[in-house]
Amino acid sequence: MDRKIASDANVSTLAFSADGKLLHGLCQDGKLRSWDVGAGSIRQTIAFEEGDTEPVLSPAVLTTMAKDGSLKSWDLTTGKVARRLPAAGRHSRRVFGSVDGSVFLSMGGSEIKVRALDATGKERFVVPSGLGGVGAMAISPDGSAIVAATYDADMRAWNSRNGELLRLIDELPVAMFDLKFSPDGRWLAAAGADRIVYIYDAKTWKISRKFSGQPEMISALAFSADGSKLASGGFSELTQKRPVKVLIWDVKSGQKVRTFDASQRVASVVFSPDSQLAAVSTGTKVIDFWQVAG
């Protein structure tokens, strides 16, 4: 390992700040910690409010859900709640991100629905999704499409403005555990239980390429900022606690270019904005850094 940061609490989702100087980590003790990447020291800690659940960290946005179902968006610079959607999330199970002030959520236990709220908290649409829980969700970089993968091995892409179903993708054999769009929005990477990375053309929603070689299931994906590389992080079929691999792929050729070790199921993998560094969290108190360039 090139370097690591020790945290006071177990870390799940990671995100770099836009300038790459800070690494934000969503911690399982109900706090967001931000580390100085150069020095490895803590720069800021944001403690959620009492009763907040469902924290979601997408690159620049942190959202939590209060006990009454209202949603809070936090300003990562000031550490304060910047916006509240009153009682907007009631009956919702999971928040999966926001774009231009709109928020997308999933609801339901076995029969999943996806719900979109506008910036005032007004419902824009509710659409039926698959069965058995949501494995992963993603929003396209231009905000025009949202995609959800459910545990019944189906995926659906919708128009994010009106909920129109763009494509039901039912050709995959297994559930997908992570979905990530390439930074230019051209590709959607999907991976999960069968150890294969599927690269979809995000215009036609057809499979363009498949990357095989991960030795276990895949729990986390990330494109580098320049779109040239893709990282996939493993998840052992036998137990989350088994050591796994993080693979770095060349997106064009589909070749494996680097392989790193992770101590257990990869919770999150992210590239620095200059695409030189990958940071990996595994739900433990250690964040690993790897040089991926060269």
Partner: protein, 213 residues
Amino acid sequence: MKTAKPTRRQLIENCICKGLLVAGASTMSQNELLAFWEQGEAQANKPTSTEVLGPFFRKGAPKNITMRISGEPGFPLRVSGKVSNTRGQKVQGVRIDMWQADHAGLYDVQGYRYRSKLEVESASEYAVETILPGHYDDRPAQHIHYMISAPGHKTLITQAYFATDPFFDGDPGKNFRKRNMVSSVELIRNVNLFEGPGQPRATIQFDICLERI
């Protein structure tokens, strides 16, 4: 764009409101008629409890009544049951996806070992030959996953558990909620052991009751 289907209750209410459903020559009011219908539903059989689908479902399993693989370790198990609906009726066109871990607690995520998709005949009974599933750390009670679909019925996602499982410490009624493992004690089935002329084997009966749409 797909829209959610109305529930049976909504349909009945709608029909009553529109005068499409009337109680013969009786003088029942709309409310009395709805109450009568609800009473009938309340007396119906209880649908099988649901469980989580989990991350290991795989589409396209073979129609295989023998999941057990010759020469592989594992205690032989026969799972059988009847499929009906909450009205006690036999259900036509039932498809049952079953999947489980092997004796070592490992799911086949790239193929179809210990996976089957059954087509249940009009007798509404099913049976498979398999092995007792192994234990694994993340969900340490032995279980078999089910996803059951049939026209006109709600897709049921559930799991069968085993009363003999050491996880329940000999008392499933008391311990089924340990580690939030089992949603309902009814899903834990008694295991019958047979010692025949061949090797010993176990059986469980797992009947399924589907909810009508």
